[in-house]
């Protein structure tokens, strides 16, 4: 399965939820489906998408927060699983797209490509109770809906092909993204 198809499948569910995505290919695939003020594209700092998600989820208990992460990124911050498990925000869904690749930087194989590492087992071992895996788009969609329904911290590890968008380019400056994201959240809180 391809990540773009997975994101497309859940896109309607992202409309009024707080979304944090990793850089490059993943950010572009989300953007191509329709850019929104409630999307934060973390374009460079590998590993921190889930930490941002944790900070958001803990301080906005009335919101649902969805993090779209990658294997290369999450491997730079495996401690995040432990911190997520400890604080267990009920309103956070952490999706890890495992393409076995550092796709956005030239497609080198990542550490998971060898097939010996099980990211879902790492998340479980860290103490996260709801961890699902998916290898077809249908499975992914079901896992995502189940995560939305269970109202607890959930991790979904989705095995995807190492393919990305054909073109890159977003009409959005990085600080602009941060400003409008913050403003969207503020407006929601007032409403």
């Amino acid at each position: 399965m391809e990540r773009a198809g997975c994101i497309e499948m859940i896109y309607p569910e992202l409309e009024d939820r707080i979304v944090v995505t990793i850089m490059g290919a993943c950010a572009q695939e989300l953007y191509n489906l329709g850019d929104r003020d409630n999307f934060f594209y973390l374009q460079h700092a590998m590993g921190l998408a889930s930490s941002i998600g944790l900070g958001l989820a803990m301080h906005l208990p009335a919101e649902r927060v969805i993090v779209l992460d990658g294997d290369g990124s999450v491997l730079m911050n495996l401690g995040t699983f432990v911190t997520l498990a400890r604080y267990r925000p009920r309103n956070l869904i952490h999706v890890v797209f495992d393409n076995g690749s550092l796709l956005s930087t030239g497609g080198f194989e990542s550490q998971t490509a060898a097939g010996v590492t099980d990211l879902a087992a790492i998340a479980r071992g860290a103490g996260i109770e709801h961890v699902a895996t998916a290898s077809t788009t249908i499975e992914f969609g079901e896992a995502f809906l189940a995560a939305l329904e269970c109202e607890d911290l959930s991790v979904i590890v989705a095995k995807v092909a190492a393919v990305g968008p054909e073109h890159y380019g977003m009409d959005l400056h990085l600080p602009e993204n941060a400003f409008r994201f913050k403003r969207w959240i503020k407006t929601r809180k007032r409403a």
Partner: protein, 169 residues
């Protein structure tokens, strides 16, 4: 040497007086008493991290959420958080208010702290992160408030260095 009970309390009160209700931290000796108070206070949210760089992301999340937040760490933890500071906070103009235990400087008896202590200010300067030293318990509450205010107006990380004079009796 003992960690200052009174000054840890003063810093805690300064954090609360500045309107901060959320703290991320990685514990260390000088911060222990302070963290204990934060943990016990029902008005405060404390997020303990496994590595300091996580706290940069968590602090960014708190900022987006509109919750006043400070980060507590040791200077060596600050070194480990540099890419997060540069590639998240600075790149996106996200303010961060860091209170950093300034180990390894004047009076430091432990060899393992010294290299970090010697390069701390140089690294802060290289990154363009504004910083001040907190030495006087009479002034630290004001310094915390001002560090917070400046981070928010400059949309930048700022650092208050908690020195030996303040943290030890």
């Amino acid at each position: 040497m003992t960690v200052s009970y009174e000054n840890s309390k003063t810093i805690f009160e300064g954090i609360k007086a500045a309107g901060i209700r959320s703290v991320s931290a990685l514990p260390e000796t000088w911060l222990g008493l302070l963290l204990g108070r934060i943990e016990e206070d029902p008005d405060m949210t404390l997020v303990q991290v496994a590595k300091e760089e996580e706290a940069i992301g968590i602090a960014a999340g708190a900022y987006f959420a509109g919750t006043p937040h400070v980060l507590l760490m040791q200077n060596h933890g600050f070194f480990g958080a540099v890419n997060g500071l540069v590639s998240l906070a600075m790149l996106y103009h996200i303010p961060l208010c860091m209170l950093i235990a300034y180990r390894g400087h004047w009076g430091e008896p432990y060899p393992w702290h010294t290299r970090g202590g010697i390069v701390t200010e140089g690294v802060l300067r290289a990154l363009g992160i504004p910083f001040e030293h907190a030495r006087d318990p009479m002034k630290v509450a004001k310094q915390i408030r001002e560090a917070w205010t400046f981070s928010q107006s400059s949309l930048s990380p700022v650092a208050l260095l908690l020195t030996r004079d303040l943290m030890e009796d």
